[in-house]
Amino acid sequence: MDVTTQNLESGACIVRISGRIDASNAGQLDARFNEVISSGRTRLAADMSGVVYISSGGLRVLLAAIKKVKPSGGDLRLFGLDPNVMKILQLSGFTKIFSTHATEAEAAAGL
């Protein structure tokens, strides 16, 4: 799994994730989110286009991140979702918690 971040002029931040998010690296992803959030950036969009698998533990990391940014008016949007990953988000009810978008532009709009 690889994670890179890109700060936008708007003050939002794109978190690009690629690879499998599983038990072995969920902690690593959690640390990156905490890093970004504690640097003051709470308006986030996660680029999931390179993610083909996310485990239950990985979902928990996303859930924890959005719980941190929501109270201060922030958000965590997801875009570029793989069909299987999308199904997981739907089944687990995550699509009710996260807004999902097809493209980066769509996700960044109004963030």
Partner: protein, 498 residues
């Protein structure tokens, strides 16, 4: 339980309610994540449901843990991807509570673990037994393993029988052998003897080189300790031809063993410092046993009067000797044991049986000296003498005028022998003096010892009263060889045949 792709739980039966401890009514307007993502422990449960999506073609079975918020349960969970007429519906999860089963399995595992640990412990004890058991008797090892106090220092006084065995002439023999040969002779010999000793309830206190110190009646008290010791000694002597057969097969020299036995009080127990403790004995009895043993030649068993008295009836003895060991106030009587009845039916030939000597037509010139203690070095002090009669193991030696100091029974002597070409064979022969007498009286002498002297027999009837008698120049001595180098052996064998 069925979950659809809106994250809603669309079926949730009473069994699911009771297992997950969630009321169906609480699920209304809740999505899956809010209910099932509360606890990290539920990751496996969730993952098995997601697996049905990632691999929708197969059914997924797993044993997972589930935190209800109250307890952690073990669930057997099966998840299946649900389609209806080509339309994706969601995932069905069927589960049962196997917490009790898991606990049972865990306790079974724990039980297995205990059994395994027990087996390991047993193995370790077995190892200790095998390691120490090779040297110590089972009794001592058992004592060590089973009684926590068994390792405490200290001891008690007890009347026991002590046996000391030694290979006659082995030290000088081993000097001429390869170390490997010495070790293989000893291992074979000690192995055979150990078995016999343990069979008779003896406790091997220690091996000191080729010597064995054996206790009878300790650490486990046995009333018949003296009898066991004597029977054991006889069987050990009887086993020696077997030991030597093996030696011969391996191209190793033959060995001979002497055994001394004494009965008396000893202090017995764990003696030593905290770091190195040894179960053992101390006391005059131990030293005297060793002295008694030193009077033997190969094949002989000497016991003290105390041991003879303790055994009592059934003991068969040969010659009796009055000896005065160093460090002992007055002379003591020792008995040569040739057998024991009392249901053992063990017997060996007495020393007398081997006394048929061949008188040599031409005496063999020798130089001879009495060996004082263990100091055997040097050529000085060796005086001229001659062998007048000979058998495989014994010889009669006529001493020259130089033997002013006298030679007594049980003295150890060292000699050099003139070979066929008239020059001395450059190797020491060791022998022990069996008896002394006037020239010509020994080779044909009648054995005056009673074959069955009995434990309480009078000491005055003594087969070889010469123990302390002066043997002046011109006297003859009968000796038994204890160590004969190969070169000498060949020469003596030739001389016997004439």
């Amino acid at each position: 339980m069925t979950v659809d792709f809106d994250g809603r739980i669309i079926t949730f039966n009473p069994a699911a309610e009771s297992i997950l401890e969630i009321n169906e009514s609480d699920l209304i307007n809740q999505n899956y994540a809010e209910v099932f993502f509360q606890y990290e422990e539920n990751d496996e449960f969730n993952q098995t449901i997601f697996d049905a999506i990632y691999e929708s073609a197969i059914r997924h079975n797993a044993v997972v843990s589930f935190n209800t918020g109250r307890v952690l349960k073990s669930l057997a969970l099966t998840t299946t991807y649900l389609q209806d007429k080509g339309k994706d519906i969601g995932v069905i999860a069927v589960f049962s509570d196997i917490t009790e089963l898991t606990e049972l399995r865990d306790s079974l595992k724990a039980m297995e673990k205990i059994q395994r640990l027990n087996a390991e412990l047993e193995k370790r004890n077995e190892f200790i037994k095998e390691t120490f058991g090779r040297y110590l008797s089972d009794d001592i090892v058992k004592n060590l393993i089973e009684t926590p106090g068994g390792l405490k220092l200290g001891g008690k006084k007890q009347r026991i029988t002590i046996m000391m065995t030694d290979l006659r002439g082995f030290t000088s023999m081993s000097e001429k052998l390869q170390p490997e040969a010495v070790v293989s002779i000893l291992n074979n010999y000690l192995g055979e003897m150990t078995e016999i000793i343990l069979k008779h309830g003896g406790t091997i206190d220690e091996f000191i080189g080729d010597a064995i110190l054996v206790l009878f009646g300790a650490p486990v008290w046995k009333p018949l300790h003296a009898e066991y010791a004597v029977a054991c000694a006889l069987e050990m002597q009887i086993a020696m031809p077997c030991v030597n057969r093996w030696n011969k097969q391996m191209g190793l020299p033959e060995i001979e063993m002497g055994i001394g036995i004494h009965t008396g009080d000893v202090v017995i127990g764990n003696i030593g410092s905290k770091k190195r403790t040894k179960y053992g004995v101390v006391g005059k009895t131990v030293n005297l046993t060793s002295r008694i043993e030193s009077y033997t030649t190969g094949g002989q068993i000497f016991i003290s009067r105390q041991t003879a008295d303790e055994v009592g009836e059934g003991l068969v003895t040969g010659a009796r000797h009055e000896v005065h060991p160093k460090g002992v106030d007055r002379p003591i009587t020792i008995f040569e044991v040739t057998g024991i009845e009392r249901g053992y039916g063990l017997s060996i030939d007495s020393e007398e049986a081997g006394r048929r000597l061949v008188t040599l037509k031409k005496p063999i010139s020798v130089r001879m000296a009495v060996v004082e203690g263990k100091d055997v070095g040097g050529q000085e002090g060796m005086l001229k003498a001659e062998i007048t009669a000979l058998s495989k193991h014994q010889a009669e030696v006529g001493m020259g005028d130089g033997f002013q100091a006298g030679v007594k029974a049980f003295d150890n002597v060292r000699m050099r022998i003139m070979g066929a070409d008239g020059s001395e064979i450059d190797d020491d022969v060791y022998a022990k003096v069996l008896e002394t007498g006037r020239a010509g009286t020994l080779a044909d002498a009648n054995t005056s010892a009673d074959a069955n002297a009995g434990a309480n027999a009078d000491t005055s009837a003594d087969a070889s009263a010469g123990a302390n008698a002066d043997a002046n120049a011109g006297a003859n001595v009968r000796i038994k060889f204890t160590s004969v180098p190969e070169a000498v052996r060949g020469f003596l064998d030739g001389a016997m045949e004439g």
